[in-house]
Amino acid sequence: MVSYTSRYSNNILKSLLPWIISTLILIILPFIFTGGGSVTIMNQIGITIVMAMSYNMLLGQGGMLSFGHAVYMGLGGFIAVHIMNFVEDGLWLPLPLLPLVGGLVGLGMATIVGSFSTRKAGVVFAMISLGIGELLAASCIVITAFFGGEEGVSGDRTWAPPTFGIEFITQIEVYYLIAFWVLISIFLMYLFTQTPVGKMANAVRDNPERAEFVGYSMRWVRYVSFCGAGFFAGIAGALFAINFEILTEENLSMGMSFNILLATYIGGIGFFIGPVIGAVGFTLLQTVLGLQTDLWALYTGVIFILTVMYAPSGFTGIVTMHYVPWQLGKIHLLFKPYAKILVPALIFVAGLTSLIELTNHVRHHSQETSITLYWITFESNTIIPWIVLLAMTLGGFYVCRVFAKEVVDAWGEANYVEKG
């Protein structure tokens, strides 16, 4: 017989366990990935995580599709850079507290915009967010005193008074600062989902009319979520300012807002940790794949469309779908068909992307004939690679179609619950 108190403390320990594990992971990550640019990439991932999580407060939890979320991040970032520059003139503010200021700026802007944009969800909300986004992006060029015109505003984080002797000169110091704020933000956002208003946000998303009849003002619930999302976007903006030390009009542009939507949706909007996975995946696509090919945005876009069409719950949704077969003890039924389809699928993807890259190479770099794709170097002006790649693409596609039936059957079998 377990006493009440020990069971209670057990529960606390159990609910704190994910946080302790993620803290440890964040601490040891720089020791695992020690390569040249890995800290830079991890910093970028951290910022994108906060931004995507904040975006998901709107889209995933509140059902509000925003096309202008970069506004709150950008404004928070711009103010943060200006403060970094003011610090030199005697304003005392340690760098680690800067994200808080950025967050308050985002919150302030969200309280103003949200007061009229959250009356309706759906298309009206999306259009207001688009309008505000375009408005701010366009005024960037006009109001040069604040936004710095085309070259943007730059600062220097090392001018801030040292915190416990740390001056944030190296990237790794910045990494731990970002990691700290990522954890704090995610924890706060998690707590928000547990509050009554956080729960009601889901209700308002799914059935606004019913939520209204129960006695909640859907507008008020949306407004609170919106302000919260603005706050965390501002934090992300200030982190961006600390990491890159420059903000330009690009940070406020529609492109930035679109990227966040892509990252969040690919990760999975229906899950709390979906955006984290999306942010990691998207930033890796952007940086690692971006180094390999000019066409990374095309591939990302195709992945995005496929996600919207066939896996609306995102990557996280695909993974969690396997919980039922696992519970039923039938997950092993899926291993063989998955392994079988993986090979032709990889061949198909490799063939198709190589064809695309090859065409791109021939069209835009015609003076150079040698090309390296997937660690293989060959001449692009001979016919043989084209035939091989075409065969790989078509063959892989055909075999995939044949094996897909097996996967579907195995999936049905693995999810079948015996009556009895």
Partner: protein, 318 residues
């Protein structure tokens, strides 16, 4: 006065061009409840297809062939993309069209490169139609104007006077009833989506030479078209028409009259600062109307959505 007339004509041409885009968009919206964010991408495709065809067969063949290709593409997107996403609800549909916009833009860059392409007006229309005290109007612009008016009249005729138009109008409000009368409503949806995107394609074909054909042209016009549709009232063709004209004139007149904020501030008794480039309010003092011109449509959009969320002529709340 002459400057006024020239700008009036320019604004009218631009407005009618916007209407070609916004009419398709609003038709699609009122039918399917989907705001097609990829609409301007189809506009761009129209221009690029026409350019590619004009390289081999000339402008006029491009004008005839490119829009049907865009129409078929649009219909295919509806049939195999949108219908699949429809089951998840309206927000995923919106996100799908957004993703489509993104992919089409990248594809255009992949196929035609990132630079401007040489898509020109036909030589037969390369002369000055008439001059008005210093300003001249190109014959091609007159041709654009005539095209737009013809399409507007044609669209009106089809929707208001033909049997097909009646079925479309009926399926706007009572899709279930129309279906039970034996009409194939999904086919109507596919057709409307195709024709809507086809209209955007025509707009691209005839606007490509004047607005220039480059991968950013969808982005440049995309948001403005949403402004037209939302300001006019979602689902209202007439509203889209009025809003397109308003925004067309707004754009050309703001660009033409160089009114500076300094003049207004001095009029109200403020003193012009000595060294304006280091003044804290320098942006306000040096502000001019052409500078804030691009901002005005979005300002209008936000104001309309705050004070009249269903737009100027919209009947229902979106």
């Amino acid at each position: 006065m002459d400057l006024f007339i020239i700008n009036f004509l320019d604004g009218l041409i631009y407005g009618l061009l916007l209407f070609m885009l916004s009419s398709g968009l609003t038709l699609i919206f009122s039918m399917m409840g989907v705001l097609n964010l990829a609409h301007s991408a189809f506009f761009m495709l129209g221009a690029y297809f026409a350019y590619q065809i004009s390289l081999y067969l000339g402008f006029w063949v491009g004008l005839l062939v490119a829009p049907p290709i865009v129409t078929v593409l649009g219909a295919l997107v509806e049939r195999y993309g949108l219908r699949q996403v429809h089951q998840y609800g309206h927000v995923p549909e919106l996100i799908f069209t957004f993703g489509l916009y993104f992919v089409i833009e990248e594809l255009v860059q992949y196929i035609w490169g990132k630079n401007f392409v040489e898509y020109r007006a036909p030589e037969s229309l390369d002369f000055v139609a008439f001059t008005l005290a210093g300003g001249s109007i190109q014959a091609y612009k007159v041709f654009m104007l005539l095209c737009s008016v013809a399409i507007f009249l044609g669209l009106y005729y089809v929707l208001a006077r033909t049997r097909v138009g009646m079925i479309i109008q009926a399926s706007l409000s009572y899709p279930k009833t129309v279906e039970s009368l034996g009409h194939n409503v999904p086919l109507v949806f596919m057709g409307v989506f195709g024709v809507g995107t086809g209209l955007a394609g025509i707009a691209g074909v005839i606007a490509g030479p004047t607005l220039q054909t480059y991968p950013g042209m969808a982005f440049a016009l995309g948001s403005i078209v949403f402004v037209c549709v939302v300001v006019g009232g979602l689902g209202s063709l007439f509203g889209a028409f009025v809003a397109s004209l308003i925004i067309g004139w707004m754009k050309t007149f703001a660009a033409a009259y160089n009114v500076g904020a300094a003049e207004i501030l001095i009029y109200f008794g403020f003193e012009y600062p000595d060294n304006v480039y280091y003044h804290p309010w320098r942006d306000l003092w040096t502000l001019t109307l052409p500078q804030i011109g691009p901002l005005l449509p979005y300002l209008l959009l936000v104001l309309i959505l705050i004070f009249r969320p269903y737009g100027l002529f919209g009947r229902r709340d979106a």
